[in-house]
Structure formats: C-alpha cells, structure tokens
C-alpha cells in the first residue's frame, strides 16, 4: 500500500520560500568562494622589487561582474516573465539568479572546467525539475512524486513550463560561467541576446512592448558586462604576468563602459525600426492559428451566415436578401438562432461533433424530461416564441440550419426527416446545438418556402440569474473551460483580460454582464479590422492590440474569456433581428448583412441566456443581458439611417480605452515617473553642485573642472591658488575684480585647509566667497571649454603624466 506523497519529505516540491532560501544559499556560496588574490611580487632585476597590485587592490571591485551578470540574467528572465512565464515570472528570475550564483560558486570552487559544467548541469536540472513539480502540484496534480512526474510528463503545459525554466537556468548559468570564470563578456551575452530576440519575435504584438524595462535592463547590464569583463580580464592578466599598472584606477574604465552602455542603449531604443510589419510569412509558412478551420466550416469573406466563427480579415457586406420572418416575440423582432458553437480551438469556434438524433417529420424534439436539473425540459422562466421564416431567393441554400427564435423546442410542420445535434443522454436530448434536414433545407421546404419553428427565450430576471449559482450540470462543464492543449500564452492573456474586465463581479451573471459591457464600451466595431499577425489568436490580438473587430471578434472574445473564468458559454451563429419596414406585409427582412454571432451563457435552472457584446450601434442587449448596460457603445461605423447596417470603414482615429492593468502600460507610467524623477534629481543635483561650496575640496573640484576644460594644466598637480589663477584667465577677461575674488577665495580655502580648526570653521566665509563668484562660473566654464577646444586642435600639446619608475 502506497502512502500518500504528502507524508514523505522527498515528495514535497520546492516552495517559493525554499526557492528563496536556495537563492540565499547560492549567494552565500558565491560570496564565500569569491577570489582572494594576493599581490603578485615581481622581482625587478637591478631595482627594488615591484609590487604588482592585485585586481582588488587596484580598486577594481570584483563584485561588479557578479552584479552585472545577475542583472543580465534576471533581466532576460524578466523579459520571459513578462511575456510567457506569467505567474511563474518570479520563479524564472530566481532560477536565472541561482544559475549565475551557482556558476560563480563552481567557478571558484573547482578549477576543472568539466567538473564545473557538470555541476552546473546537475544543479540546473535539479532546480528546474523541482520547480516544475511544484507548479504541477500547484495546478492540481497530487499524489506521489511518481504521480507528479507522470502528470508533468503528460502535460504539455508542464513541459512548456519546464522548458522555459530550463531556458532561464541556462541563461543564468551561461552568463555566470562565461562572465565570471572565463571573463568572456561578449560570449556571455550571446545567449541572452538570442533568448531576448527569440522571445520578442514570438510573442503577440501587444506584448512586444511589455518587456521594455527588462529588455532595457538586459541591454545596459549586458553591454556593461561586456566592457567590464574585458577590463577585468586584462587586469587579471596583468596581475598574473606581473605587469605593473599605472594611471587611473579601473573605476574610470568602468565609468566609461557604463556610460557607453547607457548611450548605446538609448540610441538603440530611439532608433526607428527598419520594418514595422510582420513579414515572416514570406519566409516561414508555419501559418497562423486561424488557418486551422473545420472542413465543413464556411468562412465568409463577405457577410453571410457561417457555421463556424473564425475571426479573420475585413468583411464586405452583401445585402442580398436571405429571408423574411414574423415572430410572436415582443416587438416582432428576434434573434434567429442557427447553430450553437461549443468547440473552441485556437481562438476559433466550431460546432461540436456531438451525438445527433434523427427525427421524422412532425416528431417533437425528444428532450430529456427526467426532471434532473440542467436539462432543457427543466429550465425555468422560459417563454416559447414562434418564428415563421420565408426564404427568399437562394436563402435556403445559404442557410443549411433551421432557424429558431431561441433554444429550439419544436418544428411541427417540417415536411422532412431532420436531424437534431446536441448533448444527449441516451436517446434524449439535453440541449440542442443545431437542427438540419437530411435532404438539405432547400429540398425539404414546402413550396411556399415558409416554415414555422418554435423556441424558448429566457425571461429570467437579473436577480434570478445572479442567484443562479454555479451548480452546473456535468454535461455543461466541458463548455466551462478552454481545451487543455490551448496555447499557454494566449490563454494566460485571455484570463488576464477576463479578470480585468470582470473586476468586482461576484457571480457568473455579473461577470458576464461586466465583460459584455466592457467589450461594448471599450472596443471598436468595424468590418475592417487590421490584419492579425501570424502566431497570435485573433481574439487576443483584438483584445490587446487592435481593439477593432466585428461580431465574431466580440462574441469569440467574450465566450473565451468566460470560459477562462470557468463559466459555461458558447457562441451562436445566426441572424440579427434584421431591418424593419422593408416589406409591406410587416415581415422583417433579413439580408446577408444581418448574419450575426452572439454569446450564450449557461445558468443553472435557467439554461442558455443570450448576451450581446457587439457594439455595432444597432443591436442592443435585451432581457437580463440588458441590465446594468454601460454607456453608449463606441463605434466607428457610420449609420446612414436607423435599421440599416453600415458598410463604411473606420476612419476615425482609434483611441481605445485600455481596460487592463497591463504590465506594459503600467510600466509606461512607471517609466514616465522614473524619467521625471531622474530629471528632477539631476536638476537638483546640478543646482546643488553649482550653488553649494563649503569646503576647500568642493572649491578645488569646481576650479579643476574649468582648468581641465581649458587644458590649462593637470589639475592634480596644481594648488588651489594655482587653479584659481588659471581660472582667472578665463573668468575675469580683464576684470580685475573677478581675479581678485578668485584669489581671495583660494586664500580662504587654503586657510581652511591648513588650519588647525575643523573644516566647518570658515565654511561660511568660503560659501560667501563662492556666492560672489558663482554667477560668473558658468561663463568661466564656457570660455575654458572654448579655450580647451582651441588647444586640442592639431599640434596641441598633450597632457603629460609622469609615472613612477619601475
């Protein structure tokens, strides 16, 4: 008998706390293994031995490489976190950091390259497998460790998580090993470069701006790492060869490298891209998700009835008459339901290949009437409505499915064998997806081309639906989730969008209403949506980037979002209420342009309820779906006259209201705030630098700057008085007062510097003296700079530094 895995310590996956502890341990190991280089002593023949300062003694902070490597690895993992890792982002960053630290520790602990790499690989596998198991446990896999393994191996999502974590680990380990052990910064940056670019070109366009900060961080830290490892490699080499070092401390090199990295990054970010259009399909024909269509699906490039919802490119409206109808519904108008689409695949909706029941003419639809909750026969507050349809022209050929005014209930006068498709329990139906005739509708209609159908429309109130609960029957649970093989990234995006749109809702009804209203108010209806990039679900692109689409986009998005939240939903393809008053007999005319897709949400006891997320300016939510409707829909469609659908395209500027707390947008504000803060700090710092002189050192630095700019000598070799005298030549311009002030200031500084009193004594005098010179200081710098430029011309004498003899 196997004991439960939860009772065995080895079966417990790593928790976040354990991961943090692991990170801390790796950090401690890395620090403990930090190199301690003793100064190399070079026997200088014939002269006193020369002590070659080690890298550390040179002032080169050995931790700089470690920090830069950590920044690079974590930034790269951060980009993955923002784009694909989602909630696992922190784990990815931690794994990358652990990779760097473990590489550092192994690099210091062992001189064997093979042993170090082996240790890295083993450590990486252990860490990533442990975290993957943790994630698997978190998403419901339970039982023994073996069960976890099986779940992970069987689940594509877990494999994807594992692969992403391995990428994070490999990035960190690669960067750490090559930068910290081999001092090869350029090679160390190759993998982050590949990971970043691969990440950026494969994520949806809306997310392409989201990892801006991680990418910027990776760029700056990567470039700095390249430069710094070069300096470090050189310093280590000199230390080993006994080459004495002279001149500036390595911080100067570090500053130069950091400055160059920032400048390069800024220029790279500001440079316009050579191409903004995705032309990858010309090179790679992998095809987007939308290329997968059901063989029987009819995808309209022109408006018309469709048995599948595959949001695609622009639609040209065709106004060919399809049918006319009369109905007993209030107002004489009703949605004409054709087929219910419950099969969601890669962002598209298809009819479910479910069981069907074939019925003879006149037979009633055999609903399950066992009284069990959730069957069509037990649904509450539904009203039966009749629909009499007269097909016009080739309408019967265009529409293969029988049209109903709601959930199909009966078709008494159909003179043909017909087939009902839907969820069944034995030979009885639980719900109906679509009804077709065996011989085809066009061949089954009476000569009048008229047929009457009956369906039920929910009359449940908002309060009833709010209290309907979530006790869904088992047969509808399949409609409450997206298929497990759905793309990880897109599903995450949809879930994030749904959560944001449904903010504040406490029950499925409110969620559905919130999402419906959010779509109606924040997205734009158009028949000419922008092309969808390859590799992206059209609805994800619609929600996150284009914010423009037609009914298929709106309905698909709402249905999918509801499913990510566990609410049963499906799409219905059919026709809208159509135009009123076009026919003299009072019937409403339906043309191809009235083809429509909307959403049905399932509520326990009340069945499927229509929702209308499409803000086309014509169709409005009715019944319970109309409750709490938000402001007037945003639409770019021009409406020539009431009741006529527009064919115009969107010409108005698109200003979609962003409805999600998208990280990219949040970062946009953070970016602005940080930039403003930086500017303020810089301005304040500059002001303080200009205004504040209270010590001789501060005075010396300001005068030295002018001397350096004017190339008037090496400031390091000049006293304050000499500096002041040199500055006077560019400050006074013949004005003796300025020169006197400077010399007086220098005298004060000297007095303070060489006084027995604390430096604070006399600070006021120095500040007062500087106050008299301060206004002339910018001009002094300017003239010094111009003089320096003249001196730096051809034939200029270089600054000479005399180094200690060796």
């Amino acid at each position: 008998m196997t004991s439960p895995a939860s009772t065995q310590w080895w079966a417990e996956p790593l928790s976040d706390l354990a991961l943090v502890i692991l990170l801390a341990l790796a950090l401690v190991a890395a620090v403990a293994a930090a190199p301690v280089r003793s100064p190399a002593r070079v026997a200088g023949p014939g002269s006193a031995s020369v002590v070659v300062r080690s890298v550390r003694q040179l002032g080169a902070p050995t931790w700089v490489s470690l920090v830069l490597a950590l920044l690079l690895a974590v930034s790269t993992a951060g980009a993955l976190a923002v784009t694909v890792l989602g909630s696992l982002g922190l784990s990815g960053c931690l794994v990358a950091a652990i990779g760097v630290l473990m590489a550092q520790a192994l690099a210091r602990l062992t001189k064997s390259r093979a042993l170090g790499i082996l240790g890295l690989v083993v450590g990486g596998m252990v860490t990533t497998v442990a975290i993957t198991l943790q994630v698997a446990a978190g998403i419901g896999a339970g039982g023994s460790l073996a069960g976890l393994f099986q779940q992970v191996i069987a689940s594509p999502a877990s494999a994807q998580i594992f692969a992403l974590l391995v990428v994070c680990w490999a990035t960190g380990a690669w960067v750490g090993w090559l930068a910290l052990r081999e001092h090869e910064g350029a090679i160390a940056c190759a993998v982050p470069l590949v990971v970043l670019v691969a990440d950026l070109v494969n994520i949806p366009q809306i997310l392409q701006a989201a990892p801006a900060w991680p990418v910027v961080g990776a760029m700056v830290s990567g470039l700095a790492l390249v430069g710094w490892t070069h300096e470090e490699r050189q310093l280590v080499r000199w230390s080993e060869l006994g080459v004495p070092w002279s001149g500036a401390r390595p911080q100067r090199a570090l500053g130069m490298v950091a400055g160059a990295a920032v400048v390069v990054t800024l220029v790279a970010l500001l440079a316009p891209p050579l191409n903004r259009t995705n032309i990858s399909e010309r090179f790679f024909h992998s095809g987007p998700h939308i290329s997968r269509t059901s063989p029987s699906a009819k995808i309209a490039a022109i408006s018309g009835y469709s048995t599948a919802v595959v949001p695609g490119g622009p639609i040209r409206q065709v106004r060919d008459p399809v049918l006319s109808y009369r109905t007993s519904a209030p107002g004489g108008e009703v949605y004409l339901r054709g087929v219910a689409l419950t099969d969601f695949s890669n962002g598209n909706w298809y009819p479910a290949p479910g069981a069907s029941v074939t019925l003879k003419s006149g037979h009633l639809i055999p609903f399950q009437d066992s009284g069990a909750q959730g069957t069509a026969a037990t649904e509450l507050d539904r009203k039966e409505v009749s629909l009499t349809v007269t097909y016009l022209g080739t309408g019967a050929q265009e529409v293969p499915d029988l049209l109903y005014p709601g959930s199909p209930s009966q078709t008494p006068n159909l003179p043909a064998v017909y087939r009902v498709q839907g969820e069944t329990a034995g030979h009885a139906l639980l719900t109906v997806d679509d009804i077709t005739t065996e011989a085809g509708l066009a061949n089954s209609l009476p000569s009048s081309q008229t047929i009457t159908t009956y369906g039920t429309v929910s009359e449940a109130t908002a309060q009833q639906l709010e209290s309907a609960g979530t006790d869904y029957p088992s047969w509808v649970e399949a409609d409450a989730a997206l298929p497990p093989e759905a793309a990880f990234i897109d599903v995450n995006e949809l879930a994030a969008d749904a959560t944001a749109m449904a903010a504040g809702a406490t029950n499925p009804y409110q969620i559905a209403i919130n999402i419906q209203n959010a779509l109606r108010t924040q997205e734009i209806y158009t028949l000419d949506p922008p092309p969808v990039p390859a590799g992206v679900w059209p609805i994800v692109y619609f929600l996150n980037d284009s914010h423009r689409g037609y009914c298929q986009y709106f309905a698909s998005a709402m249905g999918a979002m509801l499913r990510t939240l566990g609410i049963p939903s499906r799409l219905v393809s059919g026709f809208g209420p159509g135009e009123e008053g076009r026919l003299k007999n009072g019937e409403r005319l339906i043309t191809e342009a009235d083809a429509h897709t909307w959403v049905q949400v399932y509520f326990p006891h009340y069945g499927w309820v229509n929702f209308e997320p499409t803000p086309d300016g014509f169709y409005q939510p009715t019944g319970a779906a109309a409750a709490s409707t938000g402001p007037a829909p945003t639409t770019s469609a021009t409406v020539p006259h009431p009741g006529v659908r527009s064919t115009g395209t969107n010409t108005a500027p698109i200003q979609p209201t962003l409805h999600r707390h998208h990280l990219g947008r949040v970062l946009g504000w953070v970016e602005l705030a940080v930039a403003l803060l930086l500017v303020i700090v810089l301005v304040l710092g500059a002001l303080r630098w200009w205004l504040w002189v209270r010590t001789p050192g501060q005075l010396r630095r300001r005068l030295a700057l002018a001397v350096r700019l004017g190339r008037m000598g090496d400031p390091r070799c000049l006293t304050v008085t000499e500096l002041a005298r040199a500055c006077a030549t560019v400050a006074s311009r013949g004005n003796l007062t300025g020169e006197q002030e400077l010399m007086l200031l220098a005298a004060v500084a000297d007095r303070i510097a060489f006084s027995d009193q604390p430096p604070t004594v006399g600070a006021e005098a120095l500040a007062a003296g500087w106050g008299r010179v301060r206004s002339a200081y910018p001009g002094m710098l300017w003239r010094a700079w111009r003089r320096g430029r003249r001196r730096a011309g051809p034939g200029a004498k270089p600054t000479v530094i005399r180094l200690q003899s060796i």
Binding site: V42, A186, V194, H230, V264, L269, P798, V800
Partner: protein, 398 residues
Amino acid sequence: MYRAALLAVVAVAAFFAYINGVQLAFAVVYAAILVTVLSLAWSLIAARGVSCAREAPGGTQMVGELFSQRFQVSNRSFLPIPLIEMRDLAQFPGYRASRGLSLRAHEEAIWDSEVRLLARGRYTLGPTEIRLADPFGLFPRRLRFPADGSVLVYPAIYHMPDFAFIGARAGLDSDRGGRPRDLPPSASGIREHDPADGINRIHWISTARKGRLMSRTFDAEEGSDLLVVLDLRRGLHYGTAPESSLEYAVTLAASIAHGALRHGRAVALLATDRELTNIAAGRGDAQEQLIMESLALAQADGQVGLGDVLYRHIPAWRTRGNIVLITSDPSGEWVEAMAAGSQPGRKAVAIYVDARSFQSPARTSTIPAQWRLVLDIWTIRRGDDLSRLDPVVGRAVV
C-alpha cells in the same frame, strides 16, 4: 573566431527582428550592431593616435650597471583609451618593462625604467609592442614599434693585479698600479695631451707647432706586454649566464686586459672561438675598446684545439711578455704548450675556471701538482669574488 560566431548570432537576430517588425527586438539588435561599430571605430581611431617612444643611452654599458630608459606612450586621439599595455620586447636577461596604462584623450604617460645588466652582449632596444582595445574589448589591436638602436654590454670588470708580472720574479714596478708610468724615457710618439699627464711629458715643440698641448708617448719596458688567451671551445663551459663558467672566463679576461691596459701594458687577446679571434697587442683606450667589444660578443663556439693554438702563437710571444690562459679544460693538453711560453724566472699564468662548480659532469677538477711546477695556476670556482683574487694563493680570497 568567437567574434565571427557573435556576428553570426547578431545577423540572425537582425533577420528575425526585421521579418517580425518588433521594435524591441530591433533595439536589441541595434545595440549589438552599434556597440560593434562603436568598438571597431574606437579601436581604429585609438590605434591611430597611439605612439610610443623611448629614450635610452646609446653606446656601451657594462654588466652590473643600471641601464635606464625613458618610455613615453602618447594618446593623441580624441578618445580615451581605458587600457593600454606596453611591452618592451628587448631581450635583456631578467628584464620586464611591460606596463599597464590608462590614458585620457590627448594624454601621454612618461616613466623611467631601470634594469641592472646581468649579461654581456648586444641588445636591441625594442621592439616595443602596444596592446590596446576599445572599452568593450571587442577589437583588440596590437601595434609593434621596431627597435630603435642597440646597446653593447661589456663584461663586468673587477680590479685585478697586474698580470704582466704575475708569476715573474719581483719587478721594479710590479706593484705599482694606476696610471702609465713615464719611464723609460724612450719616446715613441706624440699624442694629445691628457690632463693627467705630467708636465714633463709635454712635447713642447709639437705643442708650439700645433697650438695645443701635446704629450710624448713612451715604449713600455721590454717584456711587460700581456697575452690573454681565452679558451672558448665548444663543450667546455657550463652553467647559465651570469652564473656560467663562460661568463666567469670572459669576465676574468676582460678584467685582466683592463687592468693591464690601465698599467700601460700592451695587451693582446687570443681566443679559441670559431673565428680564432686574435687581437694584436696594443695599448690605450682603443685597444681596450677593441678587446671589450670582442669579449662582449664572445661565444663558446670554437673547435680548434687549445694546444694547437698555443703552439702556434706562444713562440712568437715568448719574449714579449707574460701569457695568461683562461680555460675550463681539465684535460691538461694545454699545459705543455703553456709551459713552453714560460721564461726562466717567469711562469705563464693559467686561470682554471672550475667547470665542475658550474654543474659540469666532469669527474675531477684537481690540479695535478706537476702542473704547478711549470705554470702559475689559479683556480676560480662559482661564487668566487673576482674582485678579491689573491696572487699569492692563486684564488679568490673569501
């Protein structure tokens, strides 16, 4: 190689960024390209602006002296160079004049480098190598500046007794050192006056005729010349400079010649090297320079037997003065020939540099007693202080 791989990675990344039209991917690729171009340009410009110069005393130096050079590395470009490595590739033994630098724009570094000369020979002053790179180290460059001049390092010279009279019965002035003596008064020529010359050496007639002071030169006393024979046959010498039997032998030869010349003797040098160097007897600075240059470049590459050489030259030298042989040959084939050079009352001198003390595989270095009957034999071993040779005991005094 790795640069090519990195460029390939960047190129592939650029391709994918282009076909996908992703701005951030472009930014990453731009940064990579930009830093590459920047580094290349930086490296090229900096390399063009860098120059290296050295100031070194020309002419001759002597082993043991400090040789001082002044280096100057200039950066005349407008770009700072964070790291420059200057390597002096001069082949002075134990010499390492590499230096790491960091130069700002229009800045130059000057420093002095001193080296104690450990071995004789001719050394080129350079070449000099400058290694620099851009701040990212992507395009390292190596600049080579050719050697500018050379320096000839003479062997070290120690104070030596006057070997012209070593082994002879006490001569009148054998113990007198220092400047050439004025006696005998048989003038042999006229030369420029040296302030050290006595007034009685001034040749007033020539002085009056030339308008400047001229001094007389005199023949040294008969039989006071010195022949230094240096055994430079291949395979005799052991050890590594400066602690090698060859260096000891050459140093002894140079010191003996120098000492004799300082005493006004005419000194000749005979070496058993490949060229069978034979410098005729002469006096003065020119002769010393000739001998020193020869000894500075002497190598143990001779193949002719020492006995043959001695038999060929010693008879002609027998009456002219003393002979000093410096050898490491323990075989004794040269003893008979040297004995032939001895004169009644004056033994030829042989300085035996014990090669065994320089890690020679020779089994014995004992000087047979019978050799000492015909020759005045000195023995020098590794570590002996050559400045403290005792003519009485025939070795260095510790």
